[in-house]
Symmetry: C2
């Protein structure tokens, strides 16, 4: 979103103008995240509020049940959203990536933990300041609301998927969805980057690690995908989409 206060890879790579907003121009999240709702001068106000921060793999951005004092806009990397059930079982709510805003609903407390899967850079917003900004710029609340609604739709679709699908269908849908989400930031690509473990995928899809593993090898044997380091390459999109039947 903006790269004012250092740490940003982008700042290091491109020669950034002196202006404090201008860095947003080079931010991959700029056009797809909440920032897209803002005019040039409003972006300046957001800029004032933002604090650039970085996390390393396995670092926790925030804990489930903790007070949500800070909201995060992810500018690069991937974060897993983890919820622990009362009986100790672990569930993954989802994976957040470039452009995703964590804290969309502006709820008082985090309902899941956020854990970095890769190097992650974020723009952090303190709750109070952000709340004031939202009051000041109705576009921003509109945008937040629209994005929350979108998330709600995604969650409801995911519910439907988890309900009555076979393991293969779930995994294929997962792969295609990851590709689509990644394409928003990086263009369409047959390479799906999967920085998370099989266990994470299992907990996300409501399956076991063993089943995920078996399903992957099954897809490989059928020449639908090829396993590569940190991900898979989709070989036969047509048949994959037929299986998913989205």
């Amino acid at each position: 979103m903006n790269n004012v206060r250092g740490h940003s890879n982008i700042v290091k790579l491109v020669s950034s103008p002196a202006s404090s907003h201008a860095n947003c121009e080079y931010c991959k999240a700029r056009t797809i995240s909440i920032c897209a709702a803002l005019e040039f001068d409003e972006l300046g106000a957001l800029d004032q509020l933002a604090r650039k921060n970085c996390f390393q793999p396995r670092e926790t951005l925030f804990h489930e049940h903790d007070a949500a004092n800070v909201f995060y806009n992810i500018t690069s990397g991937m974060v897993r959203l983890v919820k622990v059930l009362p009986d100790g079982r672990r569930t993954l709510i989802g994976f957040a990536m470039t452009g995703d805003f964590l804290g969309l609903s502006m709820a008082d407390r985090h309902v899941y933990s956020g854990e970095a899967l890769t190097d992650v850079s974020v723009c952090e917003f303190r709750r109070d300041g952000f709340s004031d900004l939202v009051d000041q710029y109705p576009h921003l609340l509109r945008r937040l609301h629209a994005l929350t609604g979108h998330e709600l739709t995604i969650a409801q679709t995911q519910m439907a998927i988890l309900g009555r699908r076979t393991a293969v269908e779930k995994v294929v849908i997962f792969l295609l969805t990851m590709r689509d989400r990644w394409s928003h930031v990086n263009g369409s690509n047959l390479l799906v980057v999967l920085p998370m473990s099989r266990m994470d995928i299992a907990d996300y899809l409501g399956l076991t690690v063993e089943t995920i593993s078996r399903t992957f090898t099954q897809l490989v044997k059928q020449k639908l995908v090829v396993i590569v380091p940190n991900g898979v390459r989709l070989v036969d999109i047509g048949r994959l989409e037929a299986i998913a039947a989205i």
Copy 2:
């Protein structure tokens, strides 16, 4: 919410004052729905916009994929939210009841159909007018946003439930959740009203009708619930909550 333009059971039951807002006072949805965000004078504006309407069981309020020109605030009755998967399978996203607002996300199109399970009365709001009102009263957007966030949390919790729970756990969680939701409008009660069919419950929980039926009889044999017309009576809340382990 308001009962201005006739048809309302409430209007027939209580002698309503002449004032056009005042009817909201007798509306069961008044304190728990979006209306709760509004001041007295703002409620008047909402009142202007609202059109009272009723639906009979099996009537469709709106169809999946249709343009969402009207939003609905349910003042009594129950509505099932149905999504049809590409392969023809049916999924229930949820059940909407008194106080629920359909169209929270203000998306362009409905992502599921709404079908009346009982006699349903609603306050209808045309999209354009409602959108203007939202622009006019920031509280209202805030409230909409908060409720959308709440729905999102519910959906994510439901995802977690569907993931890794046994049939018994799912059904028990369903029953307890229905009771809790109903209690907001009617006080705590051991009688859970279930106007939907077993098929509906099955499609909601990602199970088959047979499994739902078997699970119910199992719960009855264990003296945890008693089946009554149009619902169940919870007998042993303690053990039920232990099974749910929410």
